[in-house]
Symmetry: C2
Subunit: 291 residues, 2 copies
């Protein structure tokens, strides 16, 4: 698998039309060729201790965690994974154009974990931020070492942006009430209003398709009826699974990524009028399994 | 049904936490109250001749057509509907974070319809455009009589924006090859790079949830294997169905809609740090069935 998702530029062909000949140049997705040709130095290894491997009734989903952005939340989630608390957990909510949400197995015998600090943004100091060339509705958009991010010079803070596939920690109404036992993945238009309001702990690397296609919950906000959630069989870190595949993300400070950004903003072939820009959530960072 | 989709501001509650008491103020969605309280004069009737009623194996989906933006395409689609050409059609493609796509029943006996003109944008003259207060990555964002739209002062043109739920006409690679027999609905992050490149003919009013939850196609670009598409039983215009419900959209030039925009940009309750802005695709226009 070269990427988490097909590029958004896929053309809308008539079903009856013949497919483009393999001999034709890849006019739809110049980004595909840039990604395929990117030298090894333009890719960053993903630490297998930062990959959560979820086996659910819908299939396998890999989630990359971001300890540089929400260290206490990521540590809490990893602890729950190592304790097996997500085994026999449940997917409890699927809300259309918003989120799929899952929860660890309730354990009444276990003392409730202390609430986590509100790691919704972090100091910009110490981060190499590559700005997006394009204006953003919400903040200064850009990239940090393989992640879609945004920053605010007034507060001197940076955060991971909420886009399709972003994974965060659910919480109750007061800001410091998340404990890592309730997670969500975005399956709709990037809900950027959640930025700086909730702990974004990572993103789906692979396997979101089957989870985004789950039936929407009939309850308020897409919750499934109590007790009817979809089963999660097992969650492990990739580092706990001998021989698990290595994964990489493109270095967003590399010339290859800059070229991908340009290609996505200036699509050719199918597009008589290239947009000349691309919003942050459209500028997905390429990831790949290393064979 | 008050709206097509739940507002995006739904809080991420812990599943074990009690739901907010009904006595609490609706702190999450001030927009809900604005919509519920909007006077009749702030709503526009939707012409039942502009509502396509699709009954598919996944359920019923209503699509509002936009003849002011793509008149030849909308006329061609209505003609196909009236001829029954979409009955026994097929959903042929479901691509994650992109589109669900369907096609009329192939009719080899029928002469091929002439290609439609590239109605990808239209003159701004004659349109009352309400600008969004917030900056847009792609163009000048705003609203025209109940639609999310964008415009370009340099070309003097306006177009409907591609957002979640947008419906357009598939075409082959040359720009004027769509004939209205192949339609798609967006089920992912708003693919605004399609703006001005394809005929956007409307949006889903209701029933997108079950269609967005269809299994993703295993073929290239999410196409289902040949012959395996999901059946469309029947497509009619609401005007052809006696007693069909009336629908309305909020007038985007009304004070109520301006208040909805403000509420969505400045969410309270769950949100310790309101975004202070909202991108065009997040600023969905309220629609409702009139009881």
């Amino acid at each position: 698998m070269q990427r988490l998702l097909p590029l958004l530029a896929a053309p809308l062909l008539l079903a009856q039309a013949p497919p483009p000949s393999p001999a034709e140049p890849p006019v739809y997705n110049a980004a595909d060729k840039i990604i395929a040709d990117a030298p090894a130095a333009h890719w960053l290894a993903i630490n297998p201790d930062d990959i959560m491997v979820m086996d659910t009734a819908a299939g396998r989903m890999l989630v990359q965690l971001a300890p540089d952005f929400a260290p206490a939340h990521v540590a809490a989630v990893k602890k729950l994974v190592r304790e097996g608390q997500f085994d026999d957990g449940r997917i409890v909510r699927v809300q259309d154009n918003y989120v799929v949400q899952w929860t660890a197995r309730p354990d009444p015998a276990k003392p409730k974990a202390p609430p986590l600090p509100p790691e919704y943004e972090r100091p910009s100091a110490g981060l190499a931020f590559t700005p997006s060339p394009y204006v953003d509705t919400y903040a200064q958009a850009g990239f940090v070492a393989g992640w879609q991010a945004a920053r605010d010079p007034a507060t001197g803070t940076t955060w991971l942006a909420h886009c399709y596939g972003t994974v965060g920690v659910g919480r109750d109404n007061p800001p410091d009430t998340g404990d890592g036992a309730e997670l969500y993945a975005v399956i709709g238009h990037g809900p950027r209003h959640l930025d700086r309001n909730i702990a974004n702990i990572g993103r789906v690397l692979a396997g979101i398709e089957a989870h985004a296609a789950l039936p929407r919950g009939a309850g308020a906000m897409g919750f499934y009826d109590e007790g009817r959630g979809l089963k999660i069989a097992r969650v492990r870190l990739a580092s706990q699974i001998p021989g698990f595949a290595k994964w990489q993300m493109m270095d967003t400070a590399s010339p290859s990524f800059a070229a991908v950004v340009q290609a996505r903003a200036n699509r050719t072939g199918f597009f008589p009028r290239p947009a000349g820009a691309a919003d942050l959530c459209t500028l997905r960072v390429p990831v790949r399994e290393v064979k």
